[in-house]
Structures are given as structure tokens and as C-alpha cells.
């Protein structure tokens, strides 16, 4: 069942690619939307049949390369199921949004279907090599999206930077995996077996090096300061749909790696160096917000708020590794907050990036000061952006508040100073979003000179249909968080327990 959910998009992609006759753009997008919708339905069925207290479920195991200790092992628990669902939701939203795409639609649809399989595969993988395969392929897929559908020559340069930079991260990750593999006896890449065996307990410097490799690999992908410099150009030059997936799903691969691999597999060193992650997280949160404040390009600004939001997650996972002065409940809360933040950030930032895509399409620029008074001609667009911006800065009633509240409450006991510093990030994000909103939507109407038809149309039906559900879900989670938290909490309690052992 899980395998079906993962590989359904790939099968559709192969079918679309190998179909011998030319396919019209509308049919391509139609097939893409249908595939994404079916996959979402299947994921919903997974969720319906999921028992929150049942640990890993829907597990499947098959030998892949037994002599090298590699197996096809998949399964979901409370950490991965919300991300799996998020992936399906976002890819469907992106498919609907792309109804207006006109450039090489067949290849575009195939690429996104391929990426969907890769993302779903990563969140369900329970084998390090399987995880790595998807981790690497996500880079390849996103490279082609940015290089092929980005903004011209600069797009290709940004894509190259993205590929090279994140590839360094993935190879560091691979070295870390090899370190884990060699430490285990018998040698294995299986995550559950490694978590049970804790092969690096008491291995001193060796374990620290493995954690360093994993930490760098995951931090590049997350991205945490100082490994974040690939993110702004990649986001700015990518097409809106690509940005939404990059921010909404691909960044989560890094943070998910922390809770799935680094924490349970290296509990001893994780506790030892938890402070480093707390510091990196707090610095990312504050630095990301500060740099975002200085941006004049709306897409870069949102990209830097991603650095800020992911900083909270890193802070929380670091705090979950501090035993002194904390209790189980606080650590569990921190991990739950981290996972909730991943989901929440995916929904809200995905929506924000799709909305900047709308902005670019109408005005051909991302510069904030080029626009003014857009609320007049485009009230629905203004409302959507305002809602998304408020959700992003963590106003109560939206998912961001639930997530950040848990993160800060859970982390406070572990490291009060760092947490207090990180909280200022919220203030900064509030300032920058309010400033951008005032500039772009209020005042007299002014459009950039490059805008194609001299007017600013409101959200079209596909755009509304793509964005509204994302914001709606963020609202639902903000008001009724229980169903989501019920799924996440048992799993984060398990992770916190594994770290504390």
C-alpha cells in the first residue's frame, strides 16, 4: 500500500513520458492533477487506517542488496505520516496551480510527478541508502526544474549552484551513513536496526565525526546558517511551483533527517553536542529574520523567512537532546513542535511562493517597491497574501502559532538564552511582513513598468483553487490541532526516549 502511494506518480510519469503520440498540454496537466489527487486520496486512506500508538506501520521489507546490508524497507510513523500527507497536498496544489503553465508542459508534469515519488519515498524510507537515493534524486529533479523553467541564464546559474552546494551536503551525508554502517555489527544500513543497536555508543571521536558528517549534510539541505547561501538564488530563479515544492517539501528532508536519523541513531553524541544545534538553530532563526528584513525582493524575503522558520526546528531538535533541567514532557513537546512546524511551514510557505508566482506573472518583477495599492484591483489576491503572511509570522489561529508555541515552550527549559533570542525572530518577521504588505497593497495603485498588459488581474480560478486549501489547512490545524498532534505526539515521545537512553 505504502509502496503504491510512493510509486504511483512515477508510474504515471513513465506512462506520460513513453506515450507514443503527442499529448496536448491540457491533457498532460489533467493527468498530472488526477495522479496527484489519487495519491492524496491514498495517503488519506493511509492516515485513516493509522493507529497513532502503533509505532511503525505499513512496513514493507524486501532484500535489495543483501551483501551490502541494503534493503528496501519502508514504513510510516507519526513523524513521517504528516509529512507524507503534506507532500501529497502540496503536489496537488502545485499541479492545479500549473494549469496556467504553457512551456513544455509534458516534461514539466513528468518532472513534478518524478519529484513527488522521490519526496514520498524519502519520508517513507527506513533504510539509509534508500533515504540517500531519494535525497540525491530530489536534487537532480529540482535542478532540472530550476534550470529548465527558471528565469533564463540566471536561473541556470542558480540551478548549478543549488546542485553543487546541496550535492556536497548529500555526499557528507553519505560518508556519515558509511560511518554508521561500518560501526554496526553485522554491517547494516537499516534505520530501525541501527536505532535499536545504537552502534556508536561510547565511540568518542569516531561518533562525533559521523555526527559532523550527518549534521553538515542535513544542515545544508535544511538550510541552517552558515550553509544557507544556495537557498535565496535557487528560490528567486525557480518557477513558482518549483519554489513551493523546494520550500514546502525539499527543505523538510533536512529537518526530517534530524528526527529520523541523527537523533535516534546517534543519541549519545547528539546529547553531547546538542548545544551546537541549539546555537545553530537560534542563529539561523535570528539571522534569517534579520536578512529577510533587509530584502527588497519579495521572493528572497520569503526565502530568508524559510531560513528563520527552519532555524526554530533545528533549535527544537537540539533542545530535545538536553537532559539536564528538562523532563520527558518538555523534550517531547520540542520534537512535536518541530514536526508541526515542518507541516505548517510547508503549507504556509508553499502558499506564499505560489502567490509570489502570481505577482511575477502580472508584474514581471519581484521588487517590493515596484508595486503599490494592489488591494484595489486584486482584493482576493491581497487577502490571500495577507492571510498567508499573518499565518507565517505565527499569529494565533494558524498552524504556525501552534508549532512555534510548542517549540519555544519545549526549548525554554533546555536553553533559556538561546530560546529567548530566537523568539525575537517572530518580532522581526512580523515587522518585515507588515512592511511588505503596506508597501504592496495599500496606497495609490502603481504597477511596475514592465508589466505586460498594464493592469493587475485578481486571482484566477486555478490559482485560488491551489492556494486556498493550503491556507485553509493551516487554519484548521491552528484551530483544531488535536488530530494532527495526536498522530505526532506518540512518535515524538519515542524519539525523545531514544535520545535520552
Amino acid at each position: 500500500m505504502l509502496t503504491l502511494v510512493v510509486f504511483l506518480p512515477l508510474a504515471v510519469c513513465a506512462g506520460l513520458l513513453l506515450w507514443p503520440r503527442p499529448v496536448s498540454d491540457r491533457v498532460c496537466t489533467g493527468v498530472w492533477i488526477a495522479a496527484a489527487a489519487v495519491d492524496l486520496a491514498l495517503a488519506a486512506a493511509l492516515w485513516a487506517g493509522f493507529d497513532p500508538d502503533g509505532g511503525l506501520q505499513y512496513e514493507q521489507r524486501a532484500d535489495w542488496i543483501p551483501t551490502a546490508g541494503v534493503g528496501y524497507h519502508v514504513g510510516v510513523d507519526g513523524l513521517s505520516l504528516p509529512l507524507l500527507a503534506l507532500t501529497c497536498v502540496l503536489f496537488l496544489a502545485v499541479a492545479v496551480y500549473s494549469l496556467r503553465e504553457t512551456r513544455r508542459v509534458r516534461a514539466y508534469a513528468c518532472l513534478f510527478l518524478f519529484l513527488e515519488t522521490v519526496c514520498l519515498g524519502l519520508f517513507s524510507a527506513l533504510d539509509l541508502i534508500l533515504f540517500f537515493v531519494y535525497f540525491d534524486l530530489s536534487i537532480v529533479g529540482m535542478y532540472f526544474v530550476i534550470a529548465g523553467w527558471g528565469h533564463g541564464e540566471r536561473g541556470r546559474a542558480a540551478a548549478l549552484k543549488f546542485f553543487l552546494y546541496t550535492f556536497i551536503g548529500s555526499l557528507a551525508l553519505l560518508l556519515g551513513f558509511i560511518g554508521l554502517y561500518l560501526a554496526a555489527s553485522p554491517h547494516t544500513f537499516d534505520i530501525t536496526e541501527l536505532a535499536a543497536a545504537d552502534p556508536l555508543a561510547g565511540r568518542g571521536a569516531y561518533a562525533a565525526l559521523v555526527l559532523l558528517a550527518l549534521g553538515v549534510g542535513l544542515a545544508v539541505k535544511t538550510p541552517a546558517v552558515p550553509f544557507h547561501t544556495w537557498l535565496p538564488p535557487a528560490h528567486t530563479e525557480a518557477p513558482a511551483a518549483g519554489s513551493a515544492i523546494l520550500a514546502g517539501v525539499l527543505l523538510k528532508m533536512g529537518t526530517y533527517g534530524f528526527v529520523r536519523i541523527a537523533m535516534p541513531l546517534l543519541p549519545g553524541v547528539w546529547r553531547e553536542y546538542a548545544l551546537a544545534f541549539i546555537v545553530v538553530g537560534a542563529v539561523s532563526a535570528v539571522y534569517g529574520a534579520l536578512v529577510a528584513l533587509g530584502q527588497t525582493d519579495v521572493k528572497r524575503m520569503i526565502a530568508y523567512t524559510s531560513v528563520n522558520h527552519m532555524g526554530y526546528v533545528v533549535l527544537a531538535v537540539g533542545a530535545a537532546g538536553v537532559l539536564s533541567g528538562t523532563d520527558d514532557q518538555a523534550r517531547t513537546l520540542a520534537v512535536t513542535g518541530a514536526v508541526t512546524q515542518m507541516v505548517s511551514h510547508g503549507l504556509i510557505t508553499g502558499a506564499l511562493f505560489l502567490l509570489t508566482g502570481v505577482l511575477y506573472e502580472r508584474g514581471r518583477t519581484y521588487a517590493v517597491e515596484a508595486y503599490s495599492g494592489l488591494a484595489g484591483p486584486a482584493p482576493r489576491f491581497a487577502a490571500a497574501v495577507a492571510v498567508a503572511a499573518f499565518a507565517s509570522l505565527g499569529i494565533p489561529g494558524f498552524s504556525g502559532f501552534i508549532a512555534e508555541f510548542q517549540i519555544f515552550t519545549g526549548s525554554l527549559a533546555a536553553q533559556a538564552t538561546a530560546t529567548a533570542l530566537a523568539v525575537t525572530g517572530i518580532l522581526l518577521t512580523a515587522a518585515l511582513f507588515l512592511r511588505a504588505l503596506r508597501q504592496m497593497f495599500l496606497g495609490a495603485l502603481r504597477l511596475p513598468p514592465g508589466s505586460p498588459d498594464g493592469r493587475f488581474g485578481d486571482l484566477a480560478v486555478p490559482e485560488t483553487t491551489a492556494v486556498a486549501p493550503l491556507l485553509g489547512l493551516a487554519l484548521v490545524i491552528g484551530v483544531l490541532p488535536r488530530p494532527l498532534l495526536d498522530v505526532i505526539e506518540p512518535a515524538s515521545r519515542a524519539v525523545a526516549g531514544l535520545v535520552a537512553r
Binding site: 551483501t67 541494503v70 540517500f132 540525491d136 534524486l137 548549478l160 553519505l174 560518508l175 561500518l182
Partner: protein
Amino acid sequence: MNRNLTALLPEICLVGAAVTGLLAGSWLPRHRQWSVAVLAAAAALAGLAATAHTLAADGEQTVFSAAFAVDAATGAARLAVLITLLLLLAVSAPGVRGHRRESEYWVLLMLSAAGTLALAGANDLLMLFAGYLLASVPAYALAGFAKDARGVEAALKYYLLGALFGVVMLGGVALMYGAGRGTGYRQLHTALPAAPYGVVAVGLVAVLAGLLFKSGAAPAHFWMPDVADGAAAPVAAFVTTLPKIGALIAVYRLLHQAMPADTVDWPLLLAVLAAASMTLGNLAAFFQTSATRLLAYSAVSQAGYLLMAAAVATRSELAQQGLLFYLPAYALTNLGAFAVVAELPHARRLEDYRGLARRRPALAAVLVVCLLGLVGTPPTAVFIGKLEVFSAAVDGGYTWLAVLAAVNTVASLFYYLRWLAPCFRPAGDEDRLRTVLAPSGTWAAAAACAAATGSLVLGLAAGAALPLADGPLLR
């Protein structure tokens, strides 16, 4: 003494077919000389069948006073070489078909393949040198086969360097013989610990020099880019792929079987050579504008990754598996890329590949699979090979080498992408496309697709293939 000739069936098939082809080629009219290629393919298939039988029936043994070992390494080499030979026949077909000396081309190819097999199985220094000659001499002729200025220059350079390294290697063999009072690996293994240190060290370095030349590793790699660029693309595919398989297995066998671990610190020597090879190859490949030169330098860097396994030959149990899996994986992936070059003979520069994705989507897909495969992107076979080799290096205590290899892998991505990027750019004018991206024939395209598919399948089915690389080496 074991004189079981049936153990050598794949080699005998190739040599027999070569001799038959040579004789037949002298009488066959030009339009019928293709039958020699068919003969070569039949010999390769027969060899594959014999190898499969040996592997299935546990026919491991040493023959002729243990001068030749038939074991897991030989089995893997035979599979890799013969499959590579089959693909090379297809890649060469469009260019050589109807050529005045067509049958000679096929014969030279078969002889060189037989020499490569002899290198891989050699368990005796003299056998090793004979294999070196048999693998090299036909290759010189192949490099200059087109008889144009660039080809002749390439052949001359290849020949001169080959002769130099051959002589050095022969000197090394003599020194080792003097030090170990024998040329068989078993004899050397027992006698070398008591031999004078300096003689063994110089002898080993000299023998390695010849093998490094064949595998295109630094510092004996200077011929590689010139030959790959000067000779026709199928020949370039051949020189960067086939000899490497034999030479690297020979290096591994020599170090693992003949060298006692505590006489000369050869692991460090090999680690340094590996580091130099991958780094120099990558740096040189960075700003190449010619596709074949780029692939040639990439082949140099790949030799570096492969030498990592040789460096930890006796220090990690994963080394043998890694090497024996990486070699065929590399051969398939590299051939796929070269087959694309052979299929588009007028596109020499990277810029010429503009618009390939629109015009020939299948070839663009092959390039994506093969070039990203050479980087080591999963799920292609090279990824598993790299995974194994990196694991072996870390396991053998050379973590710095694994880190360096990882850094090099990222660096290599840059130049492979420099080639891939133009493929997906809009083409511009139609006329240019028609002339520059003119196909050479269906055989090369088919070989390209087959190699790319093979590289993917081998990666996904690594679980079935890896056990073949397991098994003790025989002395």
C-alpha cells in the same frame, strides 16, 4: 600440473576468432567483411556462456603452474570485458562498416580484449607482462586506425609512452624476479619478506607503472586525453574502458596476492596515487570544451576512485567487492556516454550539443543517465560501486581518502553539468541542428540505450550481481 584448457575457454574463443577473422578477412570481399564482426560477437557470447558455466559450476582453479587464476576476479573481469566488447562492436559498427580494413579493426579489438583478460587473470609476473603486450599492441594500431593526422599523432604518442612504460615494467619484473627468486605470485608472497627492501620497492613501483599506464591513472595518464580526442570516438571508448578493467584487477591481484603487507608500505603509495589521479583528472576536466577530452579526463579521475579499492586491498574485506562491482559499472556507464559521442560524430564540442533534448530525446536521456551515473547518482550502478569503495576506504583506515573522493565527486559534477546543460537549451536554428547532430547509424544509438539501461539495471539489481564479486582470490 593443471593443464585444463577448458578453464581458459573465453580467452581461447577470442584468440581463435581473431585468428580466424584475420585469415578470413584476407579473402572476404569488402562488403562481406562484416561477418568478422559477427564472428567476434559470437566469440564474445560463447565466452560469456563459458564464464557463466564456470561461475555456476564453481570452476575456480589455477592453471599452467598457477600462472593463470580462474577465480571470482577473473570471472567478473570476463563478464565485464566481454559485455564491453559486445557494446564496442555495436558502437564501432557505423564508422567501420564498409571500411577498407574493416576485418582488421575487429581482429585488433578482439586481440586487445583477449590481452585484457590475460592481464586480469595473470598470477605470474611474466604472464602479466605478456598480457600487457597483448592488450597494448593492438590498441596502438587501433588509435591510428583512421590514418588521419590526429589519429597518427595519437597513435604515436600512445605507442611511445606504452613502449616506455612497458620497458619500465619489464625492468620491474626483472627486479622482482631477482628479489623473490621467482615470478609466480605464490613464490613472491613467501620470498619477498626476506628480500632487500629497496629492490622490492623499486620493482613494485616499476611494475605498477606499466599497469597504471594501462588504467590511465596519474601519473601515467598523459596519453589518455590525446588518444581519446585524436582517435575516432569508438576507439576512444575502447581505450578508456577496456584496458582499465584488466589493468586494475591486475593491480589488485598483484598487491593482494604477491605483496606481503609489511615489507613495503604500498597501501599509502596507492592511496596517494588514487588521490592524485582523481584530483588531477577532475581539475583538468573542468574547462574542457571537447566532449571526448572531457570524458578522457573523467576516465582519469575514475581510475583514481578505483585505485582506492586497491589501496585497501588487504585492509578491508569490502575492497574486492567494491572494485569488482565498480569496474563493470564504470565500463557500462562510460561506454554509454561515448556511444552518444560516436552516434553524433559531428558534435565535437560541448556547445554542439545544444538542442539535443528536443531533437533526440532518447540520446539526451542516455547522457543524463550516464553522466549523472559517472558522478555516482543513485540508482545507477556506479553509485553502488562508489558506496562500496568509499566504505572500503573508511573501513581500511583511509577516511581522508574517502573524504577527498567525496569532494572530488562534487567537483566532477560541475563539468558533467557543463555538458548536460546545453543539451536542454533551445537549439536555435534548424539547419545547424541537422548538420551538427546528424546521426551516424542505429547501432551506436542502440548501444547507447543498452549501456544506459544496463547501468540502471545493474544498479537496481546490485543485490544479484554483488555476490558474483565475492569469493577468495587464488594464488
